[in-house]
């Protein structure tokens, strides 16, 4: 049996809004093994975002347990959570969140600046390596404004990879991209998953995107509605190759 990366037991999250208690997550159980590519789906209000924040160690459950790579997140302080994020999680956001007027290489180096154990030389090597693995070897010195949306998202993926996390957590990572670029990103994700064995948790609301993953968790009203294995996982690269070359001009 492979190693468990995520273990979530009876997880509940409640918010106090004024005098009312809003129950965003009402008891969730699931586990993710190393090397899985999981998509979490759900309409707005399903608790998707709340779950994502908890998975990303930005938030803590009210009740229940969350183990990330064997660490009980509930017991950690704010600073320890930050360190955990730094060491174990690679975030990819919908809006890329790259630092403006900062080169791709420096953007990718950023997480390592918050890791004392990594020297300047190693930081640079790892950032170069990460950018090469997202096929941006020729864009080191480009700032975000000089890159296309897809390229920016690939820089963001390189930034998520650079600290060698146990899990990549993507939040609507294709939400701002057209379908061709989305498939490119999904092809990259699949490659990271199959070739490098990265565990990926991908939050999306597009069923199309979910079909590229090996497992889909469907949330509804703060509970898991469905947790299905994708037997006929689509290959993003093939889809991309079969896409007609559009020429609308």
């Amino acid at each position: 049996m492979s190693k468990k990366i995520l273990e979530i037991k009876e997880l509940k999250r409640e918010f106090l809004v004024g005098s009312e208690t809003v129950r965003a997550l009402k008891g969730i159980n699931f586990e993710v093994d190393a090397g899985e590519f999981v998509t979490i789906m759900g309409s707005s209000g399903s608790g998707k975002t709340t779950l994502l924040n908890i998975l990303g160690c930005l938030d803590k459950p009210t009740i229940g347990d969350y183990f990330l790579d064997g660490v009980d997140v509930k017991k950690l302080s704010r600073d320890e959570l930050a360190q955990l994020r730094n060491h174990k999680i690679g975030f990819v956001f919908q809006a890329y969140n790259l630092l403006p007027r900062t080169t791709a290489l420096e953007n990718v180096e950023l997480p390592l600046l918050y890791n004392k154990e990594i020297s300047a030389a190693e930081r640079r090597d790892r950032a170069i390596h990460a950018l090469e693995s997202v096929k941006l070897a020729d864009r080191f010195d480009h700032t975000p404004s000089q890159l296309s949306g897809g390229q920016q998202q690939r820089v963001a993926i390189a930034r998520a990879l650079v600290n060698q996390p146990v899990m990549i957590l993507a939040d609507e990572a294709t939400g701002n991209l057209d379908s061709r670029t989305s498939y490119e990103i999904m092809a990259l994700m699949q490659e990271l998953n199959t070739v490098q064995g990265k565990t990926i948790v991908f939050v999306t609301h597009e069923p199309d995107i979910a079909s590229f993953s090996s497992r889909t968790i469907q949330l509804r009203d703060g509970r898991i509605q469905k947790d299905t294995r994708n037997e006929n996982k689509k290959n993003a690269k093939e889809v991309l190759d079969n896409l007609p070359v559009t020429d609308d001009y």
């Binding site: 600073d79 930050a82 969140n97 950023l110 997480p111 918050y114 890791n115 300047a120």
Partner: protein, 406 residues
């Protein structure tokens, strides 16, 4: 996060917005620049006053007759006659801290050379007077003790008097001029000393043996002053005490009687004038200090704006592992870098503007190291002080909300 990384992060953040960083610095630049320049001008004028007084002889001691009660009426000291040859003899015999001593009498009158005349003052002194007052001769020779004994009709002449009596550039040495109706032979020319700190022309003078002035002009046995020089500046106070005691003995004053003379040193004068220009320096510094505070408020203002504007960046940094402390230190470091860089530019600007003041206005200036060090420290403190609250605000942001901030 290591310190080097911290500086690297802060520097990169500043580089992304160079113009804003510079504009923020401007307050500090002007503040520090003006502190340096103001203090330099203040110190310069203080030093120049001190130099002028030193020029008169800082170890010089002056004795004047003091005002005293005479039948219930206070009489001005200068018209009171107490200092005599006996005092000089007593001082010469007993004083240990003074090296040279000269009585002085003076007379105002017209100096006449042929058809030209000029109102001036004749000082009657002993040969030691030149040393005491640090006067030197440009030409000719000083009079001697023998001239004093014989009440010789010889004199030393100041530049202003020469200009008025010998306007065509003749050499006055050997010439005979008249003071009042007494003929004097000019034997030496005094080096010009210019105006003193009180605006008196120090070159408008004739100097003759005191006996000559006493016997031939004033017909008096009293002195208007006694000048002495202490062995060095440090023993001046001792010398004053000693002279006071000797003079009290010489004047046969009982313990209950006040001194009928006053003993003054240049030190008091220097202290008074220094404190005046010291006050000026303090005022200028306060004004400059206020501008530094305003510069600091400018930093705080911009840092607040910056924190709000970069909320999303802060959220991102937190999500990839920055702790609250890291964010705090980053923004604090940015503020400190702004203020210190501003400080460095300000110091350079202060140096330049000080030079400009010296070159164009001719004001004496001294750039003191302490003002440079001080304004530098103040800059760093300003950066920390005014950068802290915005930085703390940044560090306390919730990463979830910060990431979603638009």
């Amino acid at each position: 996060m290591s310190f080097i990384n911290l500086i690297r992060i802060a520097l990169k953040a500043l580089q992304r917005n160079k113009l804003r960083a510079f504009l923020t610095m401007l307050g500090i630049i002007i503040g520090v620049g003006s502190v340096i320049a103001m203090v330099a001008i203040g110190q310069g004028s203080k030093q120049s006053i001190h130099d002028q007084l030193s020029n008169m002889g800082t170890n010089m001691i002056t004795v004047q007759p003091a005002s005293n009660l005479n039948g219930g009426v206070k009489i001005a000291g200068s018209s009171f006659q107490t200092l005599t040859a006996k005092d000089i003899t007593a001082l010469k015999a007993n004083a240990q801290y003074i090296t040279e001593i000269s009585p002085a009498v003076s007379s105002k009158g017209q100096a006449i050379n042929g058809a030209l005349n000029w109102p001036t003052t004749m000082s009657g002194v002993s040969p030691e007077y030149l040393d005491i007052r640090k006067l030197t001769l440009k030409d000719g020779i000083p009079f001697t003790n023998n001239d004093v004994l014989t009440s010789a009709k010889v004199c030393l002449i100041g530049q202003t008097v020469i200009d008025n009596l010998f306007p065509n550039g003749e050499n006055p040495i050997g010439k005979v001029i008249r003071f009042g109706n007494i003929p004097f032979q000019v034997i030496g020319i005094l080096n010009p000393k210019g105006f003193n700190a009180f605006g008196q022309d120090q070159d408008d003078i004739l100097i003759a043996p005191y006996t000559t002035v006493q016997n031939r002009i004033l017909a008096t046995i009293y002195y208007s002053n006694i000048y002495a020089s202490a062995a060095n500046e440090q023993v001046t106070d001792n010398a004053v005490t000693e002279m006071t005691n000797i003079l009290r003995d010489s004047h046969r004053l009982t313990a209950s009687e006040d001194n009928d003379f006053t003993v003054r040193t240049q030190q008091e004068l220097i202290a008074t004038l220094s404190s005046t220009s010291g006050l000026l320096t303090v005022l200028l510094t306060v004004v400059a200090g206020i501008s530094l505070v305003i510069g600091g408020i400018g930093i705080m203002n911009i840092m607040y704006v910056s924190v709000t504007e970069r909320t999303k960046e802060i959220g991102l940094r937190m999500s990839i592992g920055a702790r609250g402390r890291d964010i705090l230190m980053q923004f604090l470091m940015e503020a400190v870098l702004i203020s210190i860089t501003g400080g460095i530019i300000g110091v350079v600007l202060g140096f330049i503007s000080t030079q400009i003041v010296t070159l164009t206005l001719g004001w004496p200036t001294i750039i003191s190291e302490s003002s440079v060090v001080l304004s530098f420290v103040v800059c760093a403190v300003t950066g920390i002080f005014f950068g802290y609250y915005p930085a703390q605000k940044a560090s306390r942001l919730d990463p979830i909300e910060a990431l979603r901030y638009e």
